[in-house]
Subunit: 456 residues, 4 copies
């Protein structure tokens, strides 16, 4: 492989597209900081005590301007950081170069091949012969996967000298993973064991990664503690409900320049994402129809004055279709054939298989419209502050035994902390409980204020 | 005590205010049925199979027109029913008389004394010498309390012949409870044991009652299974969020006839009740300011464009104050002294001690305004359908051992069932999962569709 | 006729239902004053200079608590006042008695016969032998009508001695009017001429009255200047748009106690009243469908996400029907036969012939539901402040010749004045134009700020 | 001047940037057609009768994709068309080339010099020796200005042989205008007189152009009839209220990528533009504060729950500032010095002097943010359909004498026609008046339905 690690004058390793974009990246990072008050409040509140002193953190998460603010929050709290992206397309090169120049080892560029992608991941995990990182920030679970597969391969190798066999799988990407582990094994047959040994834990950002973690917990194969950041209130409600309420009209207007008022919009699914999308469409003057499988969510839609009908009943009448289900095969090419000329079909759910992309691409003459990724700094501020707080919690409790090899959601008082770190910037002042009041409702004065099953 | 049970010509026992109001009650019951589609769908779906055949049900729950529809749903499914109110003021006498005449044994009237109240409760539990009811529908937990206290007293009496001593407590109401148990003990020293023996379980309607149940579970003193209906999504979100969104402006306008548009409204607390109240005030054209102790809820308020400030900062500027906290001492008389002339102060939270009623009553010249109780049939339809479904579940599983002496929330598939029972009436049609889609998101085709921690 | 005028100890004439309700009336007047900041600001601003000194004002306008605040604003500015109601049912007796006792001559009670109604009107116009009032506040135009008919009859009588012949008309009410004029003629054949002579002008409150005035202007028969208060922005937008947005849900909930959320509401007409009603229903969680004849208003409805369909297309699907058209025959009994059980039909338009009341009353078994009249003080504050300002304008210009025998809308600077009189109470602070800015947009610094055709 | 007119193979004159962009322009025109149902309905309804047969139309209006749809609607109705842009920056070159190739003579490109701009205008007016166009579509009034100045100069020249003197003015642009007229005079001293002679009238698009027309009417110098399209309801409400409600968040998000929810937005001015902006900001989750000089608009803001305060009171607290006043000097550099770091300041009003651009540019370190122009096809559809209908009216009445040398707003029935032409595409169905109903409210069955002073 022709990939070579480069070094800054100060000796920091990196591999990015174009170091000359660092100044532009720095400018945008400074603008983003104002929109990420949670992270900036972390720097103010925790920076002086350097709680991450001595901690090595590896991150595998879209290398964007917003992530740059996250990385520099981690370093401002005392951590050393190595970073790669969790997606071959999502790196913003000016962000990567600014971080590489100023703050952390970065291995990421827009448009990596799959081989380059895993090379970057492996570089980000490589902290030298003493083992890997103390902590991982993961998004989708690829860094976590590599260590788990590495440990598994080393165990087999130790037992019977068998090396991983990339040709044993049809999955092209997994062949690459096995090749990397195989190459590593030849150099150091205990490499991933040393990583596992050192690792305090991982904080995971997304549904997909969290799903993998729960599966490993269920199988008893999880090697270190994990905090599920995805299901914090300040992550899930804010990314999903408020984030999509903001991003859907933004994306629609950028992609299509149509007037939303007066149109009929179908929102498939009325979970948090669907609620945000339906609210946005309604407020912009569209008439909104919801499709749902879940009667509770359907009843909620009705209480907001929205019609609930199956897609089949409205497919030829609507102008805009938005899928938010997290399921597949929601809008099929046969639906699209019945749509009006110039109907807009977009997916803001998890994967693009909510829409029958295959059928669409093989069907001549139907237009494909891509909605921009959701990258609003403020929403990311909640999500990333969760990451910092989760990393801090793992690090602070590294010797206490509080966290076993299980998946944890962020404790409610830390979820509340993430919210609290945002309030001053938004001009809010909280009311304080008196001792007497706190006793009356049986909560500590300083929180947490709600039972675990509270729905917000 | 001069209270005498009366009997209908068919032999049904009752004690109500005025049997001549039965026709008027029947008329209003018929109107309410249209607004309670969940209960009516229960009759349609479950009536033919008579699932409550052989079940004796005692209810302690406000004896209103809406409750009448609940009672007659229980009887339509095959149950025998005895009923009392759970509040000395809340009975609607025309509802009570219609039920007494047509459907069930009722002991309830508007304006009971505390002594009469407990007499009614005891009557409702008395199904003759073979023990009490099979099932209890409770609201606030007074029927459950009486049985628990009765059993406790019987055990002491059996052990050492000691009768309960009403003078052992300062609490006037508890003195009455002890007196009733004492009188009962003389007649049948195993009465409450027989009740406990027979009882399949209780379904509890409110926060207060649920709290008591969890305390008994924690102390190991709970005598039979309990279903916490209060925390079903179809109860909590609908009663709190949608119910209060509907009831607050209704109550405000009936009580005061003021224009809400253009006014400044302070909503204390931004939980589900507060969210509903704030939405209602905002939509009516008020400018809304929220007070909160919880940073997560505060951040949610900000995301809706609402200002978050402590009461002290806005007390002299606002026109309308609504307390929704479930806590005490929210608006004190000293706050009220700083308010504008004609400021409106109202409580839609749990108890009226959110407002400093004592300070207010002893402070000359300040006006007291009472908001009408929340009695909208449709909201009650969700809540009461939960009761029916919970009772059915307890009864169906009475021999399976599924429910131990613990407190359970309604299983999610039953919560979804409650929602589903309402959809047809509202013209909604659900989308159906394919087998393939259901597998993809790992849920059964017929639900439940969401994990336990899902927040709706 | 057995009707006798009574007198207070101070000699003021009156005829009301029950003088003992005066204290209760006074209490409610005091509460209403806080909600009518426009009128109270008039008292503060104009009271000291007593601009109505010497002016005799007759009012024919619903004798309610809100009107009481209007009357006492007129007297606070120096006027002498005589008052009757403009509707046989609308008088609030406690309001009438408080005014009769404290402030003005009142001839009004709830439930007058038509004969009593016109007797009251004639009493209110009778200021003794020197002629009638200087100014009239009219609502529907009955006081204005009586004078015009009186003058016409006197002219004929003078010409040829012919008295009016009540039997010449089939209209029962007009027979009464003619009888009153005939009786008057015998006493004083110049009575209405003297009234006309003295009259400075009338300010008219409603559409119906305004229509009559424009017809008289077109026919050349208008006897004195008239100000059309009905079409002031601060009257029309506030009564119609904001007033109905407030009153519709209030009335619906008081009359029916139904939950609006989840229902389908049809709003017939999308003028200001319809816009207010549709907004209220949408905000309460209903799905709203609009019917319209006017394509501009239809397009406006679409821009707000509302469906526009003819009544026929939705009559069997909707739960709530609201007529706002000002036209007749909107919802016929044949429509009602196709509606769902328990459908709610209400009219918030001008006359009840928007709904086929005749067909309904003769059709057995269909339910009739009456919505409470719209009496919110704040909305009335705008409307009545218009009346005071119009009366002041007429009185101030009584000798200038500014107003001829024509119908005028209130000049825009006075319309703006009405708004300005409300702002302080609502905590608003206006921005001030600089001289330079005022010149740039070619308006006077102190307003008016908008061209005549501006639509707000 | 090196500018040379080019010709298509069919002989059509043009001067555009790059003819090779015509295919791309055509593609975008086809997409825009779907979003401009008013224009497309015009083609369907009026195309067959070719009402513009024989009419030569000159347009001076931003040469964009939307304008291309307007031009091709005019040609589809039988007109011959020549076109220039009314702004040196606004031409979309692919639109210009598609039109030049396929439909009309175009003289326009992005980035004209002022000299090139007026050359294009003069080319668009030049229909050869027989005089100019029959009709003008104007936006800002430059085509109208050139003819008026030309006629004035020709009169002076005829009187005393004096040619216009460009050095007589300091205004650089007016020097160019005078030079063009002077050059023309030498060739044909009756050129603009012939144009004036032939001209049936102009329909004018904007406030600025309309202002000039009313001034000329007041001075008695207007040379031909003019229709003020700017103040049609379907133009003013739709461009301003709905258009800005749509465009403001769109522009904000494109320019800044900030989350609007949770922010404080100040909207300066609460006319139609301000109402649209405030609604958009409120719906996106911002807290909105309005500044106003007009008490009526201020009261309207309060009725929507918005705070009304002077800029000075909120300048240091808000995050987003939007000027909508149409006045100058609204936000000065001294205001901006007091703003928060990263505050966003934008102008959606008429000229950029609402914001102190001069002060800003000379003040070091303050950031300047430009909001994208408002170009949504649907809004333009209303506006441009007004143009077509106005042009048709002028042409149809060219010999009837209906229109004198005055400024007219579009008759209400034509305003309604514009709305009607949009309804089918949006799925709306109008209700039809019966003869009886139409008589009852005194309007023709087919409209117009509202009096002139109706405010919508």
């Amino acid at each position: 492989m022709a990939l070579l690690v480069e070094k800054t004058t100060s000796g920091r390793e990196y591999k990015v597209k174009d170091m000359s974009q660092a100044d532009f990246g720095r400018l945008e990072i400074e603008l983003a900081e104002v929109e990420m008050p949670g992270l900036m409040s972390c720097r103010t509140e925790f920076g002086p005590s350097q709680p991450f002193k001595g901690a090595k953190i590896t991150g595998s998460l879209h290398m964007t301007i917003q992530t740059a603010v996250l990385i520099e929050t981690l370093t401002a709290l005392g951590a050393e950081v190595r970073w790669c992206s969790c997606n071959i397309f999502s790196t913003q090169d000016h962000a990567a170069s600014a971080i590489a120049r100023d703050s952390a080892a970065v291995f990421a560029w827009k448009g990596e091949t799959l081989q380059e992608y895993w090379w970057c991941t492996e570089r980000a995990l490589d902290w030298g012969p003493d083992g890997g990182p103390d902590l991982i920030v993961d998004d989708g679970g690829d860094a976590t996967l590599l260590i788990h597969e590495g440990v598994k391969a080393e165990e087999i190798y130790e037992k019977n000298g068998t090396l991983p066999d990339p040709s044993s799988t049809d999955n092209a990407e997994f062949q690459i993973v096995l090749t990397i582990i195989k190459d590593g094994l030849k150099t150091d047959p205990k490499r991933y064991h040393k990583m596992k040994q050192r690792l305090v834990g991982v904080s995971e950002e997304t549904t997909t990664g969290v799903k993998r973690l729960y599966q490993m917990q269920a199988n008893g194969t999880l090697l270190f503690p994990a905090i599920n950041v995805n299901d914090s209130v300040t992550k899930s409600k804010f990314d999903n409900l408020y984030g999509c309420r903001h991003s859907l009209p933004d994306g629609l207007m950028r992609a299509t320049d149509v007037m939303i008022a007066g149109k009929v919009a179908v929102v498939a699914g009325y979970g948090d994402v669907g609620k945000g999308c339906a609210a946005a469409m309604k407020q912009a003057g569209a008439r909104v129809i919801v499709t749902e499988i879940d009667p509770i969510c359907a009843l909620q839609a009705l209480m907001e004055g929205l019609q609930v009908l199956p897609l089949e009943d409205v497919v030829s009448e609507a102008d805009i279709f938005v899928t938010t289900t997290g399921n597949k095969d929601i809008i099929m090419v046969d639906h699209m054939r019945k749509m009006k000329n110039n109907a807009i079909v977009c997916n803001i759910g998890h994967f693009d298989n909510e829409i029958d992309m295959l059928g669409l691409e093989t069907f001549p003459g139907v237009k494909r419209i891509t909605i921009k990724p959701q990258t609003d700094s403020f929403v990311m501020s909640c999500s990333f502050t969760n990451q910092v707080i989760a990393q801090l919690e793992l690090w602070n409790e590294r010797t206490s035994g509080k966290y076993e090899k299980k998946v944890y959601v962020l404790p409610k008082h830390l979820d509340e902390k993430v919210a609290a770190l945002h309030l001053a910037k938004l001009g809010a002042k909280l009311t304080k409980l008196s001792k007497d009041q706190a006793d009356y409702i049986s909560v500590p004065i300083e929180g947490p204020y709600k039972p675990a099953h509270y729905r917000y």
